[in-house]
């Protein structure tokens, strides 16, 4: 997964063609850490269909808030730079994330 931050977010996500998934996380977010292996498995499985990125919100607070992310975990899918699907908090389960990915690929 590509580590995105305030320097490369524009290029890697907002200006990127096609589908990009961003996993917003932080060191202090226990549910985020619990999700890591599952999101990484999905990143491997769907590597050919979309780009997978992760963003540490602690180091990129303003950027996160500009994306209207104010709670964790949050997983957002962008298509050609536009937010097209989002899961946050309890909804951000491995099964729901995979369903969201499939929904965007089809």
């Amino acid at each position: 997964m590509i580590e995105v931050n305030k320097e490369n977010f524009e290029a890697e996500v907002l200006q990127a063609p096609g589908l990009v998934l961003v996993d917003y996380w932080s060191e202090k977010c226990e549910p985020c850490k619990a999700l890591v292996p599952e999101v990484e498995a999905l990143a491997e499985k769907y590597a050919s269909s979309m780009k997978f990125c992760k963003l540490n919100v602690l180091e990129n607070r303003r950027l996160s808030i500009s994306q209207k992310v104010l709670g964790l975990p949050t997983i957002i899918v962008y298509k050609n730079g536009e937010k097209v699907a989002e899961l946050t908090k309890d909804e951000a389960t491995a099964a729901n994330i995979e369903a969201m990915i499939k929904g965007q690929i089809e």
Partner: protein, 408 residues
């Protein structure tokens, strides 16, 4: 999809479930915990842990829970990452089916599912969850650095969490329904909060609505005395108004829940279903703390161990033999019992090869005794092919028992 069998399966890996796992595994029972996230439950989302005995300072919720989990694993308990989707407690075996599609079968189940934050169902609350509405200070505090937030709730948890948030935020405004100076929180916590310069207070008020376009912008407050509504701009809304048990998936499983979804238990943490125990925040109890959850775990595990032992012994010695079994239900506290046992033994020894004798202490095996309606000792009962065929209070003489035994 796999079918996994264990002596004890524990649903939930918070302090109750992990303590139960440690006790059960240490008692040499094969023990498995099903936990949907990282072990620790609600405690994992609490930063400062200063009321767990032995750890006044310097212990955090996640750290304590890692130790609980390691302790359980040390004695051989397994912790699997999955969520129980449904349970069936209506048959002889307890069956749990999980989100990953596996099936778990257990001799005893300990329900340690815990509770989760209660929501208020205010307009805007659900839509703005994760967009400024939060139920977890440690999870989301960082987003609100130097911003202004409001906190709904004024019990111990609400005030403590608000004080934790003041390490990050510019201000935390408590919306309190009571008169000025009155909080549900205990005195020690209240006094600390009143001295905190970042805490602000709005009295006699409730939040009616959370407003914002994709992100929290303000709350609408109503003063319950004047009925006046005002709008207060804010960046975040933290809700700490108690918890609800996570027992919804157990509806229809055969397990009894009360009107609010909590599980009623006996002092041994037995539920209405034999072999199913409940520990921690999900049960009807007076105090929901990490220390009481851990204590519940110990009680439930010991009760489960006793249950398994009692059931297995009874099945092997009374229900499975091909010969008729004469069961002497006795009690060490009854003199009549002590007098009757030698007579029973004589009668049985004269019928060796035709009938077996099992002695059951009704005090130590109350469940088995009760199942067959046996309340007083001494009582004599006869079983054949797994069925109770006759029971009677102690016949007056050894001779009567001889006749009875021969009839069977």
């Amino acid at each position: 999809m796999a079918v996994i069998e264990r002596d004890v399966v524990i649903i939930g890996g918070g302090p109750a479930g992990l303590a139960a796992a440690m006790y059960a595994a240490r008692a040499k029972l094969s023990t498995l915990v099903i936990e949907k996230a990282n072990p620790g439950g609600q405690c994992r989302t609490t930063y400062s842990m200063e009321n767990y005995p032995g750890f006044a300072r310097g212990m955090t919720g996640p750290e304590l829970m890692d130790r609980f989990a390691d302790h359980a694993k040390e004695f051989g308990a397994e912790i699997v990452r999955d969520a129980v989707a449904s349970a069936d407690f209506t048959g002889d075996e307890h069956v749990l089916r999980t989100a990953k599609g596996d099936e778990y079968r257990a001799k005893a189940v300990i329900v340690a599912v815990g509770a989760e934050p209660r929501t208020l169902n205010l307009p805007g609350e659900h839509e703005l969850r994760g967009k400024g509405v939060s139920y977890c200070a440690t999870c989301d505090a960082d987003f609100f650095e130097d911003l202004d937030i409001v906190v709904i709730g004024n019990g111990d948890a609400a005030v403590e969490e608000a004080m934790y948030l003041t390490k990050f935020v510019n201000s935390a405004t408590m919306i309190v329904v009571h008169d000025e100076g009155v909080l549900d929180a205990t005195a020690i916590i209240r006094d600390r909060a009143f001295k905190n310069p970042k805490m602000k207070w709005v009295w006699n008020s409730v939040v009616e609505e959370i407003n914002g376009d994709g992100i929290v912008e303000s709350v609408t407050l109503r003063n319950i005395k004047t009925n006046e509504s005002t709008e207060l701009p804010t960046n975040g809304v933290f809700v700490f108004v108690g918890t609800v048990p996570k027992t919804d998936f157990l509806r229809g499983s055969g397990l009894e829940l009360d009107a609010r979804g909590y599980v009623p238990t006996t002092a041994q943490l037995e539920t209405n279903v034999p072999g199913v125990f409940c520990a921690g925040d999900a049960r009807v109890k007076y105090l929901r703390q990490v220390v009481t959850a851990a204590a519940d775990g110990a009680i439930a595990a010991v009760a489960a161990e006793k249950y398994i032992h009692e059931e297995e012994t009874f099945r092997e010695s009374v229900l499975e033999p091909e010969l008729p079994v004469m069961v002497a239900f006795w009690s060490p506290t009854s003199q009549a019992s002590l007098d009757f046992l030698p007579a029973v033994e004589r009668v049985a020894s004269r019928r060796q090869g035709q009938m077996e004798l099992v002695k059951i202490d009704i005090y130590k095996n109350q469940r088995v005794a009760k199942r067959y309606g046996i309340e007083t000792a001494p009582t004599i009962a006869f079983f054949r092919g797994g069925e109770l065929i006759e029971k009677a209070p102690w016949p007056t003489t050894e001779h009567d028992l001889e006749l009875e035994a021969d009839r069977i």
